[in-house]
């Protein structure tokens, strides 16, 4: 459940703020969201990563469809990638990296600051 909450919150945050904030700020926001949601490390890692990967990949596709520009192809060539599809994949993968690690760190911080559960009471 927390996976879905973090995934959806990250998705919405990036969609709404992506235009205004550069990626280091997005990293900070995902870090904060993961801290607040407090899912496990692995779940946060994938929730944050997949959210950003999805938004970036779809945004790239949408720009490409709207503009009909051959820029993705040119950039793929410039970066030594074979075929323009790889530049979409690279964008998605980079989105995953940028989303996942802050989410993981946020979750781990929550883990560090979490008060130990009281034990020994019946």
């Amino acid at each position: 459940m927390k996976f879905i909450i973090l995934f959806v919150l990250s998705l919405l945050a990036v969609i709404m703020l992506g235009t205004w904030l550069t990626f280091p700020f997005i990293m900070f926001i995902i870090f904060s969201l993961a801290y607040l949601v407090g899912s496990s490390g692995l779940s946060s890692f994938f929730a944050g990563g997949l959210a950003l990967a999805l938004v970036w990949f779809v945004k790239a596709l949408m720009i490409s469809a709207t503009t009909q520009s051959d820029l993705p192809e040119r950039m793929a060539t410039l970066m030594g990638l074979e075929g323009s599809f790889l530049i979409f994949v690279a964008t998605g993968v980079l989105g995953f990296v940028i989303g996942s690690f802050p989410a993981l760190s946020g979750a781990l911080l929550r883990n560090v600051l979490r008060k130990p559960k009281p034990t020994g009471w019946y």
Binding site: G18, T19, T22, F23, P24, M27, F31, G41, W56, K59, A60, I63, S64, T66, T67, Q68, S69, D70, L71, P72, R74, M75, T77, L78, I87, A90, T91, L94, V97, I98, F101, P102, L104, S105, L108, L109, N111, V112
Partner: protein
């Protein structure tokens, strides 16, 4: 444990964030670049998709409207000139900001700041040649001498800066994103730098090579191989022209001493052969409509973003349209309702070198007229990306900067050569163009040209009133016969220029009897001109072909003139091939041994250079090998030299095939030109076979590989190669591999001018835009787009309109 894992991943996250925001070696900051909200994806939008109906900028006096036609050519309608140039700056920056910024960084010797130490030597050369120094001098001169132009240049700069200020991360031109830097504010200084950049692109000298050649060959042979005038001179100003002025006398010193030793210096880069242009105008007596027609096609390096940017600039007083240079005010080659004009490079030796003797190693004093004179020291700090700055001390004498010294280009410590160049002197070329933009008749054209100094140009002119004219305009030093062909003694006052040729003595013609005026970078005048005129690089082929065609043609139409700009006839080949074939066939052994396949192709060649023909490739390779084979002997001294030109080479071959110059001294046999022809033919056969194997065929288009390349050589993905188009260096359609018609314009001065234009690129500088290469395919086929003057409400198919309003209104 949980502390450690948090710390580990938190630090890893921060490192990742940093790494993806940084440029590492040649890898751009990937996080910034691939972010679809801010990175390169945002550059995929074309200008019409980002059109804004209304824009506000500071301190606009009145509202300005900009209407874009279907090719993204902006038509600016302003009510006053200050607003006009402000919006010209803004609109140009919208489409060409990175290019403007990059070209002026190059002109200022600052490329190392963005590409690192690979540009260090280039930056040093630029600074040592004094380009930034000249622009600095120019700006204070301009401020005092021409406040009006200074005001307009500031308005233009304000426009550019308004655009820069509103740029967001997402809308930054893609080159900044890849190379990871930001645009700098524009200033009038940068506009002047751009004109110096043009001067540097177009002006060269061969003083070093000529000095070596004279020492090597002796006076007589040198003069035979490098004559001042060709036998068959066909100059810019018709040979029959009578000079109606009293020339200023220039005394030649009596006891001239020439350097007798060869000089080993690293030669400076020269304008690439093939850099040049055509322009002409035909009078109404030769046209079908009775109106004069003017044509201009400057041949420069074909780059993307394109060197030229097309525009119409209108106020209630005038409307001008044509090619602008991003960074400069007004239109450079174009027309208005009354006149049309165009430019070609008026090559002439305006750069001279002086040997300097310093008193001691600190170089604070140098010898002039046997007196010690104080020098000026200028320390150039060259910032380098990712490395500490390098300092370069350049000494300035009254002649100019000491380019060659112990730390640059010279191996010996006592070698110091200063460069004197008209481009170092303050001038206001910008005024010429603004006056032409508003000009109404021939008198206005002459008045405008009086302000023009460097790089010297042949200005062609045609007016609605029926005049055609040509003037060779620049600041030309007054020289005695032979002055400045070789390195000179900087101590000797007799070696100084005696002043400058007065503007009214510069060669010019108005409505000549032959019914046309033309220029193609050839000799400006015939030998009858009373001043010393010299340059190594004068053209000998395009000019003769052009004049021969113009002479023959009558009832000329605009279409005929377009055809002439795209004329692929190879005059050098037409003159040299039959001679080469006859000479080689004169030896019966040769004719039996040579490869018949290529021989037959050459025999049947019509001397045109269309892209699908193969014979041009055969000729080109044979000729190139032959030329190298004949003149390679001059390289034996191991010092920089320049070979005699093609025209002179053909002359020598035709006059005396057994001339001693053809003897290869290393062999006991006495060779003639036939031996060179045979050797070079055989090498050509090997080259052609290899070419056919590697590229599949040896057609001219494939072999020539015409390419239009992005200004950053590494950005091949933003470039176009193997463009199938004809022509070549020395041909009217002068499209070689990297140089060619960077702008073609034909204008008929009818009641309303009929104009057509094209260039190899597009209006947008953004490689992601559909307007990046709009004109390229049409240009390669010799087609044009309609380039008529438009009234605000006369657009048939406008792309979009933007209204500029003042923020303070």
């Amino acid at each position: 444990m949980k502390y450690i894992s948090f710390a580990f991943f938190f630090i890893l996250t921060i490192i990742l964030g940093l790494l993806l925001s940084m440029q590492i070696d040649k890898i751009p900051p990937l996080g910034k670049l691939l972010d679809p909200y801010h990175g390169f994806w945002q550059n995929a939008y074309s200008e019409d998709q980002q059109a804004q109906d209304e824009l506000t900028i500071s301190n606009l006096k009145e509202q300005v409207e900009v209407v874009y036609d279907e090719f993204l050519i902006p038509h600016i309608y302003a009510n006053n000139e200050e607003d006009l140039y402000k919006v010209q700056g803004y609109v140009t920056a919208q489409h060409r900001l990175w290019q403007m910024d990059f070209q002026t960084l190059a002109a200022a010797g600052r490329l190392s700041e963005i590409v690192g130490s690979m540009a260090l030597e280039l930056d040093r050369t630029t600074r040592r040649k004094g380009l930034p120094f000249a622009a600095e001098q120019g700006i204070s001169y301009l401020e005092q001498e021409d406040p009006e132009i200074f005001l307009y240049l500031n308005a233009y700069a304000d426009g550019v800066n308004e655009y820069i200020d509103q740029l967001a991360e997402a809308t930054l031109p893609i080159e900044y994103k890849i190379l990871n830097y930001k645009p700098e504010p524009w200033s009038p200084y940068k506009s002047l730098l751009l004109l110096k950049y043009m001067a540097d692109m177009l002006v060269g000298d061969r003083d070093l090579e000529y000095t070596n050649l004279r020492a090597m060959l002796g006076k007589d042979l040198f003069e035979k191989l490098y004559p001042l005038f060709p036998e068959e001179s066909d100059p810019v100003i018709e040979s029959t022209h009578l000079w109606d002025f009293e020339p200023i006398a220039v005394e030649q010193p009596e006891d001239l001493q020439y350097p007798s030793d060869s000089i080993l210096l690293q030669a400076l880069p020269q304008p690439t052969p093939g850099t040049g242009s055509n322009n002409w105008a035909v009078s109404g007596s030769k046209t079908a409509s009775g109106n004069p027609i003017l044509a201009n096609d400057p041949h420069l390096s074909m780059n993307l973003p394109s060197l030229w940017y097309a525009m119409q600039l209108s106020t209630p007083d005038f409307s001008v349209k044509g090619a602008t240079l991003p960074g400069a005010l007004g239109v450079i080659s174009g027309f208005n309702e009354n006149i049309a004009w165009g430019v070609t490079n008026a090559t002439r030796d305006t750069r001279d070198w002086y040997a300097i003797t310093f008193k001691d190693s600190d170089r604070s004093e140098y010898l002039y007229n046997d007196q010690w004179v104080k020098s000026i020291m200028r320390v150039e700090e060259i910032k380098i990306k990712g490395e500490p700055s390098k300092m370069d001390t350049v000494i300035y004498t009254h002649h100019g900067p000491v380019v060659y010294d112990q730390s640059f280009g010279a191996e010996r410590k006592d070698v110091n050569y200063a460069l004197k160049w008209t481009a170092h002197m303050p001038s206001i070329e910008q005024r010429t163009f603004l006056m032409l933009n508003k000009g109404g008749d021939h008198a206005d054209y002459i008045a405008a040209l009086d302000h023009y100094t460097s790089p010297a140009q042949n200005f062609v002119f045609a007016s609605k009133s029926g005049d055609i004219a040509m003037k060779v305009q620049g600041r030309f030093p007054l020289k005695w016969q032979g002055q400045g062909m070789f390195f000179m003694d900087g101590n000797d006052p007799q070696m100084e220029w005696a002043g400058f040729v007065p503007n009214e003595h510069n060669a010019a013609t108005l409505n000549p009897e032959r019914g046309f005026v033309s220029s193609a970078n050839q000799h400006p005048v015939a030998e009858s001109y009373p001043y010393f005129v010299f340059d190594h690089s004068y053209e000998h082929y395009r000019n003769r072909r052009l004049n021969q065609r113009l002479e023959e043609m009558n009832q000329i139409t605009v279409k005929d003139m377009m055809g002439l700009q795209f004329d692929n006839y190879h005059l050098l080949a037409a003159e040299a091939t039959p001679l080469m074939m006859t000479l080689i066939a004169s030896d019966s052994v040769n004719i039996r041994m040579i490869d018949q396949k290529y021989w037959n192709e050459l025999s049947q060649w019509d001397f045109y250079t269309n892209p699908q023909q193969s014979a041009p490739t055969i000729f080109h390779l044979w000729w190139r090998n032959l030329y190298k084979s004949i003149w390679g002997i001059l390289d034996e001294g191991g010092v920089p030299v320049v070979y005699p030109n093609y025209y002179q080479t053909v002359q020598l071959m035709s006059k005396d095939a057994k001339d001693s110059i053809f003897d290869i001294r290393a062999t006991p046999k006495r060779e003639t030109v036939v031996d060179h022809l045979k050797i070079s033919y055989d090498s050509m056969v090997v080259q052609l076979e290899k070419l056919a194997k590697v590229k599949g065929d040896y057609t001219w288009g494939t072999y020539k590989n015409t390419s239009v390349k992005h200004l950053v050589p590494a950005f091949e993905a933003f470039s176009y190669q193997n463009i199938q188009t004809g022509g070549g260096a020395g041909i009217l359609n002068a499209t070689s591999e990297r140089h060619g018609a960077s702008w073609r314009m034909v204008v008929e001065m009818a009641e309303e001018p009929i104009a057509h234009g094209i260039y190899p690129g597009g209006q947008s500088g953004n490689p992601g835009s559909k307007y990046y290469n709009t004109f390229l395919a049409s240009w390669a086929k010799g087609e044009y787009v309609d380039f008529r003057l438009n009234k605000q409400d006369s657009f048939r198919n406008p792309l979009f309109t933007s209204t500029f309003k003042s923020k303070s209104n």
